[in-house]
Amino acid sequence: MIKVRIPTPLRPLTKGQGEVEVTAGTIVDMIETLDTAHPGIKARLCDESGELRRFVNIYVNEEDIRFLKGKDTSLKAGDEVSIVPAIAGGR
């Protein structure tokens, strides 16, 4: 199983859970699996063409997937994935 940390803005989709567990071979798989269990989550993470949105960061074991193979980054049992909203703020 892979542990996925869900950020606050997405928790309404996971019934408030901050962590969920999924079985997935890649980030793409993980997003599809999450979306089946928690419909709507994929649209929040990816645009219409399936690319990761520009205000979403995904880390696998502390590393930004953009340093790895992006959404094709492979996952193995025991990996920890963090979905993190971009740094934000304002007046």
Binding site: P7, T8, P9, L10, A43, R44, L52, R53, R54, F55, V56, N57, Y59, E62, D64, R66, F67, S82, V84, P85, A86, I87, A88, G89, G90, R91
Partner: protein, 160 residues
């Protein structure tokens, strides 16, 4: 410091944002990061509170950038990549307040607080937060803060 003010002025009346990086608490490089708050779905993805969301929802996408920023994650990644290449580490996260004082807002503190655990998870040390106020256009005000455990304290910054 001049570069920070130049960035803020260039984007005025919109908020600018970026990173300062260096080694051993000395800043040597500035990374301008695009503010993507006006992108479709961006504000829903950030950790804004309900009041901020209500405020943003009444504004046009462009106007949103006058009162909020969301860093472009792609450019943030490019910046971190460049830091690694040059052996630099993130020291400062900055943004501007075009119409307001150079102190962290409730939103700034909330999101800094949420990011506090991310920095350590990502093996990065807690950055200083710098704010550039353009309330007085003739005299921009730049201030630095630590935001730890949801409490804000002034950070000492020396300009060489």
């Amino acid at each position: 410091m001049n570069d920070l003010v130049a960035h803020a002025r260039q984007l005025d009346p919109y908020e600018c944002c970026g990173f300062l990086a260096g080694t051993d608490k000395t800043v040597t490089r500035l990374y301008r990061i695009k503010n993507v708050v006006s992108l479709d779905g961006a504000s829903e993805a950030a950790s804004f509170d309900e009041a901020k969301m209500n405020h943003l929802s009444q504004l046009s996408p462009e106007e949103r950038a006058e009162i909020a920023f969301i860093m472009d994650a792609q450019e943030m990644f490019q910046a971190v990549k460049d830091m690694r290449k040059h052996g630099l580490t993130l020291q400062v996260v900055y943004h501007s307040h075009p119409h307001d004082p150079a102190r962290p807002s409730v939103t700034d503190i909330k999101i800094a607080n949420e990011w506090e655990e991310n920095w350590s998870r990502l093996n990065l040390s807690l950055p200083i937060y710098m704010l550039i106020s353009l309330m007085d256009k003739a005299r921009p005000d730049v201030r630095a803060y630590w935001i730890k455990n949801a409490s804000v304290s002034s950070a000492d910054v020396v300009t060489l």
